[in-house]
């Protein structure tokens, strides 16, 4: 696949705060790339730098389809801060945003009506945004972001506030766009959706890249196991077990995170006889766990 966006060693500082530090990643045509991180990690700053809304202090951002500057007309953007003109008809807003991207008006109108229909909003073109529900307005905003058939689509928290049915519609639309060759940069907090959709991810924390690479590679690299035991075990100190790196206890649920290379057989040998086991399951740690671990400052691994 061809790299459409290449972000190289960008840095951005606001006053005393280093919002982004030496961040590098690339997004390829037809790929869904996840840009993840806890709140305040530097995701929005990175996205604003890519869009040319703000300039990085150093580093380079290049686009395969443009030699000079940010090719705004070929980028679609759904920002985290949702909003549309409240007192303007839906179709007028979509056509205005399409015109700002130099997209032909008639074509935009045709596509807008098609997409409104597809997203379950037929006949809403003349409705003002203030007359729509929050979910409907969010769909309109997504339509506005893709109306001009962008080559790079940046979606910042596209699923927040959507019901499961709308999430499914959006997921399939995102997949369809990627299948057509659109490069998609996705920032989201719903880790199960990211796991489901993304080919590669970059997980950043405090402006620095903590994890980067293919989803499957990262999961293999973070192939640590966790063991969930259900039973009353609050009095037992699992932290002392040689195979355990971290323990989480919540009522009668105890989660033991195993050290790298530790095996379940070894853990079973180490478990004290007093442990009450009503139910036990073993699983690989999820992207959610990796995210939490990184957000808590425990994931300074870089997979490239």
């Amino acid at each position: 696949m061809r790299e459409l966006l290449d972000v190289r060693n960008i840095n951005k500082t606001f006053g005393q705060t280093r919002a982004v530090q030496d961040l590098s990643f690339s997004v390829q045509a037809g790929e869904i790339f996840g840009l993840l991180g806890p709140n305040g990690a530097g995701k929005s700053t990175t996205i604003r730098c890519i869009l040319g809304i703000i300039l990085p202090d150093s580093g380079e951002i290049s686009f395969a389809f443009s030699d000079k500057g940010v090719p705004r007309n070929h980028i679609g953007y759904l920002p985290e801060e949702r909003g549309l003109y409240k007192d303007v008809p839906v179709l007028d807003i979509i056509l205005y945003l399409a015109s700002l991207k130099d997209y032909p008006v008639q074509k935009a109108k045709h596509r807008a009506l098609e997409l409104l229909e597809k997203f379950g909003l037929p006949g809403k073109g003349k409705a003002k945004v203030e007359e729509l529900s929050k979910g409907m307005a969010q769909k309109v905003q997504f339509i506005a972001a893709v109306i001009h058939e962008p080559r790079l689509l940046i979606l910042d928290e596209p699923f927040s506030g959507l019901d499961p049915v709308s999430q499914d519609i959006l997921k399939s639309e995102v997949r369809a766009l990627a299948a057509q060759g659109t490069a998609i940069l996705l920032s989201a907090h719903q880790m199960h959706l990211v796991e489901e959709l993304c080919d590669r991810i970059s997980l950043i924390n405090q402006g620095q890249q903590a994890v980067y690479g293919r989803m499957s590679d990262i999961k293999a690299r973070f192939a640590d196991l966790k063991c969930v035991i259900r039973g009353t075990n609050l009095s037992i100190d699992f932290e002392d077990l040689p195979s355990v790196s971290r323990v989480e206890q919540n009522g009668d649920k105890t989660t033991l995170y195993l050290k790298r290379n530790a095996s379940m057989r070894q853990l079973l040998k180490e478990l004290p006889l007093a442990v009450e086991i009503e139910e036990m399951r073993v699983e690989r740690i999820s992207l959610h766990d990796i995210f939490v671990s990184v957000a808590q400052g425990g994931g300074q691994h870089v997979a490239r």
Binding site: L51, R72, P79, Y85, Y96, S99, L100
Partner: protein
Amino acid sequence: MWRDSLKVARFEALKMLKNKSFLISILLTPIIMVAFGGIPTLLQRIDADQPFRLFVVDELGVYAALETLASPELNVELAPFTGTLSSLKEKITGESTMGFVVLDQTALITRTATITIGGDGMPELTGVSALLSAVLRHRALEVHGVSAEVMGLALAPFHIATVSLTQPDDMFARIVPMVFGGLILMAVFITGMMTLQSAVTEKKDRMAEILLSSVSPDSLMQGKIIGNCLLGIVQVGTWLVFGIAAAQYYYNVPVLDHLATPHLPLILFFALGGYLLYAAVLVAMGATIEDMAAATNFQSMVFMVPMMPVLFIGPVIANPNGLVAQIGSYFPFAAPGVMVMRLALSTTLSAVDIILPAVVLVALTGLMMKLAGKIFRTAMLMYGKSPTPTEMWRWIRQ
């Protein structure tokens, strides 16, 4: 970049022109202004239906003359009183529409007469005061043996007219450009406030980030300024159409003839310069706030900047070539208004008087646009807090 600005301008203008409340406001604004001018008089008339009853204690024998000269427009009911003052006071105490006046030798000597009102308030008694004054002057001359013929000559008022060697004798020829200038300034102020409102709405509706992913901050700001300028032109145009028609119909004033002066293009130049200057400041300020109600004291003070020419109205009308008018022509933010007034009122402005303020205005507007752009691009993406003046200064210096 200009293509993007024009696209933004087109949307800004069409958005408002499709908005019913904006269209209604264009038509209603002049009506409201006329109404505000007339309403106080109308309200006064409601109470004025009840005439003021003035008891006259006449020791000079002038009551008959008073009654003869009193016209119904005075809205005063005269009544002679012959009883004691204490009983008269008792009779009118607490009555705001009753009073008395004592006309005696003391009044004649001291040349002072006092109208005592029974209750609270200050009723309109200018007319009756003038009447009392005229009758007392008449009586005073009579006492000194002046004949009625001489008295008539002495008391007849003179009409004092004012004419200018440089200005046309036709009152409308002087008033029309002045009213036009005022109209333009009002439109500049209203339209400037619209750019502010537009930036606030865009920020409040969280549209800024989407737009800035498509156009540069400078294009967005310029588009807003141009779009609202077009709306201002529509606004003034509508007012002029109705105003000219009304002036022609009711007063038979050839407004267009009076407007077509050599100064008209200059008036429009200074008005446009003023608009660009105010709009740049206001749109940048609008970008710093999320809600008009959340504006800080500093921001509210900046909103008042376009009102600055108001301070100069009196002195400039009194003398459009005076020192205050000349200083005002170079004073930032007052200059556009002052120059529009001077161009409308003065016929002796030299080329230097016009060119220098024009150069200052153009330079200042260019500078202000640049500074406003710096504030606008950062402030539009700031949510949740208003920037401090120190922060804004830092953005300007960046």
